[in-house]
């Protein structure tokens, strides 16, 4: 057999090119590992400092008064977060879904584009600016309240819910709409009884993501509820209620409150990470189901 006149092995210039290739691959791997390690370091260091301060009292008791104010728990902040985020969700969910229906099923292409742009731009506004907006519009004249905080969070949540909902509404195949319309069902009933129910899973996960995001917000609440005044320990939305995030922000510079800050941070982080991860996984599965 004759010797082959060429070789398929790497040599010379190709070897250099492959080394560059491998180097770049290694750098990309390094970047990914770095990001994951930072996540691990943050989570582990918050957890290791936070867990030790956790006990039942922390969740079930309000802040202690008097001689030992570092004692007690953050029940009032948990209640406040639930109330403020809950009301914000009640405002943002219907609005977001309605906007999504408009954009995906009813609007002319031009108005749909304008609405989408408005949502995306609102989503990009720094949250503290939204806080200041609600401050000048509501709080400056009516004083602080949990409701003002809910309003700011709702403004943040609407674009998130609307965009997520729109995405799943558009995944509902048009053949479903046609099937219903061909039965002599009017458009609006088709939308409400076929399109929206098909997209329900996506709407719920989108809303869950928005809730996780809102629960972790501090900046938009700064001037609106509780900070600078004494927080109410009740659950009346007209009172300035405390939230988990505001509590952490206040505790971190008070001597003696560090352990509580860590415990609150750990609790909040767990809630936000678990819900947003769960919602994202559910969303991915849902998208596959509808899209496939």
């Amino acid at each position: 057999m004759a010797e082959p006149v060429f070789s398929l092995r790497t040599s010379g210039r190709l070897r250099r090119r492959q080394m560059v290739n491998r180097l770049m691959g290694a750098l990309a791997l390094g970047a990914a590992l770095l990001a994951v390690s930072v996540l691990a370091i943050v989570v582990i260091s918050v957890a290791s400092r936070g867990v030790s301060a956790l006990n039942l009292d922390f969740f079930t008791k309000n802040a202690a008064q008097g001689f030992n104010p570092t004692g007690g728990g953050i029940r009032f902040a948990i209640v406040g977060t639930v109330v403020i985020v809950g009301i914000a969700t009640l405002m943002a969910l219907p609005l977001g879904v309605l906007i999504a229906i408009y954009v995906s099923d009813l609007a002319s292409p031009r108005l749909a584009r304008i609405t989408r742009l408005a949502l995306d731009v609102t989503n990009g506004i720094p949250t503290i600016v939204i806080g200041i907006f609600v401050y000048t519009m509501v709080v400056a004249t009516h004083g602080q309240s949990a409701l003002a905080g809910s309003l700011a969070l709702a403004i943040i949540m609407v674009p998130l819910i609307a965009r997520a909902t729109e995405e799943v509404l558009l995944l509902v195949p048009n053949s479903q709409r046609e099937a219903s319309l061909a039965l002599g069902v009017s458009r609006w009933r088709t939308t409400l009884s076929v399109v929206v129910p098909s997209a329900l899973g996506g709407i719920l996960t989108g809303t869950t993501l928005a809730i996780a995001r809102a629960a972790g917000e501090t900046a938009p609440l700064l001037f609106l509820t509780s900070l600078g005044t004494s927080a109410s320990a009740d659950s009346n939305p007209l009172h300035p209620l405390q939230t988990m995030t505001l509590a952490i922000f206040q505790y971190f510079e008070l001597p003696g409150f560090e352990a509580k800050a860590w415990a609150a941070a750990f609790t909040l982080m767990c809630f936000v990470l678990v819900t947003s991860l769960g919602a994202k996984l559910a969303m991915a599965r849902y998208r596959k189901k509808l899209g496939g």
Binding site: Q176, E178, A182, L183, R189
Partner: protein, 277 residues
């Protein structure tokens, strides 16, 4: 109830044999999408309780035409219809005619089975519930499934998701869903094109049964299918305008037998003998 009465009326008044009543009368019907004409001046009478097949090459506007019959074309904002299209004497596109009401009476089944992601039962019950035909819901659902020759296969799993059915079963479910609301006409837009031969023949058998109660219009690209099921066949052809755009025209319309054995138009003959298209 008005709906039921209509049904009984239909049963009673058959015209004397030999003389068929035209359900649809199309006069110079043209459809435009924006500036482009999709079909040009179609004149056709579609007869009651017959199966009328529409055949023709791709792009000849046969889907567009069948969609004009229940005003599904309304869903395309740029679509425009000229000429006159009468349904039992009423101008379908006349003033005051409600497209939703039109579609209630003239049902449609699509190319790809499109059951809702609901249970088998809820798929059939969907239209009934929304249209307020809630009395005897169970019986109506069962009757529709019987009529669609699906009852025996699904009676034990009515609560299961419709998406678990085979393609052919899904398509028959879609037919059941359409006939549950008691339409007068059923339009079938290539109902078997996504199905295997066995499922296809089940659908064809079903059409024969449905013919007793309904006027059926079917678009198909399968000539054998048209020859097997249709009483009347309309052949749509492609016309290339001097400007180079393609539009559909009705070339020939006659008894199916005539179309397939002795067509009067050369173009029809070419198509059915497989010389072009």
């Amino acid at each position: 109830m008005e709906v039921i009465k209509t049904k009984i009326d239909l049963g009673r008044e058959r015209l004397p044999t030999g003389e068929q009543e035209a359900v649809f009368e199309a006069r110079d019907v043209s459809v435009y999408y924006g500036d482009q004409r999709a079909i040009d001046k179609v004149n056709i009478d579609i007869y009651r309780r017959l199966i009328t097949a529409i055949i023709g090459p791709s792009g000849c506007g046969k889907s567009t035409f069948i969609r004009t019959l229940n005003r599904m074309t309304d869903l395309v904002p740029s679509a425009r219809l000229t000429g006159e299209l009468r349904y039992r004497g009423i101008d379908l596109y006349g003033p005051g005619v409600d497209a939703v009401e039109v579609r209630r009476r003239i049902g449609m089944v699509f190319q790809k089975p499109n059951p809702f992601p609901k249970s088998i039962y809820d798929n059939v019950a969907y239209g009934l519930r929304i249209l307020g035909m809630k009395k005897d819901l169970d019986e109506r659902v069962e009757k529709a499934l019987h009529s669609a020759a699906l009852w025996d296969e699904v009676k034990d799993r009515l609560k299961d998701s419709a998406l678990g059915l085979s393609g052919g079963q899904q398509q028959r479910l879609c037919i059941a869903r359409a006939i549950a609301v008691e339409p007068e006409v059923i339009l079938l837009d290539e109902p078997a094109s996504a199905l295997d031969p066995i499922a296809t023949s089940a659908i064809e058998d079903l059409m024969h049964d449905l013919k007793r109660d309904y006027t059926i219009v079917i678009v198909t690209h399968n000539m054998q299918q048209a020859a097997r099921v249709a009483d009347m066949t309309a052949f749509f052809g492609l016309n290339v305008t001097p400007e180079g755009s393609r539009e559909g025209i009705l070339v020939e319309y006659d008894k199916t037998e005539k179309i397939f054995t002795n067509p009067s138009d050369k173009r029809t003959e070419g198509y059915v003998t497989g010389r072009f298209g």
